[in-house]
């Protein structure tokens, strides 16, 4: 990733800055200047919003064949997290046994290193998630929320 591209998205990655649409009263992550569901009315009606960084696991998987740059984590957990405000994101769940991550578990955001361009390149920092203290496990995996693509 080019240095300017990452730099432009610093507050989105560091501080979970997204958008709130005043027309549909919905939250969006990452930041948007336009809400497709509200159409052109939403232009100028999107305001920055900092997410609280609290949510729940929607679903997760354990990665054994690590991506380049993630070899030292293996095996690790990647999950879809639904933030309390509504948006969902794909993220890594850290500081836990990856096989014990289940849908419904509460998570909270932490500041971590996401990767690096190369050994001499820029370091990328941003948000990952850890399991919250008060873990709630939903045994029924059939009723997962719809994921909007």
């Amino acid at each position: 990733m080019s240095v300017p591209r990452f730099w432009r998205e610093l507050d989105t990655r560091y501080n979970l800055i997204g958008s709130y649409c005043k027309i549909t009263k919905t939250y969006h992550y990452p930041r948007r200047s336009f809400n497709p569901k509200a159409g052109r009315e939403s232009i100028g009606s999107m305001k920055d919003y900092q997410f609280k960084g609290i949510g729940k696991i929607v679903n997760s998987t354990v990665v054994y064949q690590a991506q380049t740059g993630y070899e030292m984590f293996g095996p690790y957990c990647m999950a879809i997290v639904k933030l309390d405000e509504g948006p969902m994101m794909t993220t890594q769940i850290v500081d836990c046994d990856p096989n014990k991550v289940k849908p419904g578990m509460k998570v909270k955001s932490v500041f971590r290193k996401l990767g690096e361009d190369s050994e001499s390149g820029i370091l990328h920092y941003g948000t990952k998630f850890i399991l919250s203290e008060d873990i709630e496990v939903e045994e029924d995996n059939e009723n997962l929320p719809d994921i909007e693509v």
């Binding site: 610093l10 507050d11 560091y14 501080n15 070899e71 030292m72 984590f73 850290v94 500081d95 932490v110 500041f111 971590r112 290193k113 996401l114 370091l123 920092y125 990952k128």
Partner: protein, 348 residues
């Protein structure tokens, strides 16, 4: 009176036991643990470094102090393991707490006392009314070379103090320093691991500076050891700080709260911040603390601190003890993987 407005701490959630490290090198783990008084040490994860630890500790301090980025006029980060040789840790912390762009920031280096030099700088700027609040950070993720004595203690962690003049939870009554050119521990530019002078790190280095600075601090304050409820000093291992505290006339009850190295190892620049945070977690109004940092090379910074009534209203949940109690043991193989001690070159 100027002093500590808020504080934060961070200890990684992994640890390795001294016996596990010793078993890899065929050494006597019990003897090493007893000799160093270090039984386990914290281990940072593959995605944790000085910057991530500094951000987490600072965010905790900002939340506890009910502060936002607009209240911060300066950030100084002290460490000897900054991820970048050229590019500040402090600017990334500033961005992560939304304190940019109206502030000054810089990184400090003075071995294990870089963070306390940052406290003194913030005190000066607050005292001169240049800033409302300044952030001083002390964090390290230092390493010892495999098999070296340092490997049994070099760990990861750190803390943040927000220094200001309003809503102070602890006044810093006075500060003083004791500095000489003493080459007891160093790391040359480009070198991965530090080197040290073995026993030379003791009497002419740590003890001379910590004890001299502690005595100077009490002389300036007109106090004796019995006037303090707590003492916290730099703690490169679990033995040096006890001997230094006893030499200064302090008792077990006064130094045991801030002595964390036996359980989390030597967090270098983070050590005095974490020890002080553990004390602030339980301190009561009126309690008095003597804090004496030490950095190789060499110097000591002393602080005479008194807790105010404001600390009673602060949310002090998520304590240092909570973080330590959550630590999970890893084996040497995982430790080597997490700390970049595996050579992956042939596979790339």
């Amino acid at each position: 009176m100027n002093g500590i407005v808020s504080y934060g701490a961070y200890v990684p959630c992994h640890k390795i036991e001294t016996g596990e490290i010793a078993s890899v090198w065929g050494a006597d783990g019990s003897a090493w643990a007893k000799n160093l008084n270090v039984y386990s040490k914290s281990v940072s994860g593959p995605d944790e470094d000085v910057i991530t630890i500094a951000v987490e500790a600072t965010r905790q301090a900002m939340k506890r102090g009910n502060l936002n980025g607009d209240h911060i006029g300066a950030i100084y980060s002290g460490s000897e393991s900054h991820p970048y040789a050229v590019k500040p840790t402090s600017t990334i912390v500033a961005e992560a707490i939304s304190a940019t762009p109206n502030l000054t920031a810089a990184d400090f280096e003075f071995a294990c006392k870089a963070g306390t030099a940052a406290i003194q700088t913030c005190l000066g700027m607050v005292g001169d009314k240049q800033i409302e609040n300044g952030i001083a950070i002390g964090v390290d993720t230092s390493q010892g070379a495999p098999g070296d004595a340092l490997e049994y203690s070099a760990s990861a962690g750190g803390g943040t103090l927000i220094i200001g003049s309003k809503n102070v939870i602890a006044t810093i009554n006075d500060t003083t320093s004791y500095t000489t050119d003493t080459p007891d521990f160093w790391r040359r530019e480009g070198q991965k691991y530090p080197r040290h002078g073995g026993r030379f790190t003791g009497k002419p280095a740590f003890f001379k500076h910590v004890i001299s600075c502690g005595m100077m601090m009490m002389e300036r304050a007109g106090t004796e050891a019995k006037d303090y409820d707590y003492i916290v000093t730099h703690q490169p291992n679990g033995k040096f700080p006890i001997r230094a505290a006893k030499t200064l006339g302090f008792t077990n009850e006064q130094f045991e709260t801030g002595l964390l190295t036996p359980r989390i190892g030597n967090t270098y620049s983070g050590a005095i911040f974490l020890g002080l945070a553990a004390i602030l977690d339980i301190a009561k109004p009126g309690d008095r603390i003597l804090a004496v940092a030490y950095g190789s090379g060499a110097g000591s910074d002393g602080f005479d601190i008194t807790i105010t009534d404001k600390i009673s209203k602060m949310d002090r949940s998520e304590t240092v003890e909570d973080m330590i109690s959550r630590m999970k043991i890893v084996n040497y193989a995982t430790y080597a993987k997490y700390r970049g001690k595996l050579n992956m070159g042939a596979t790339k």
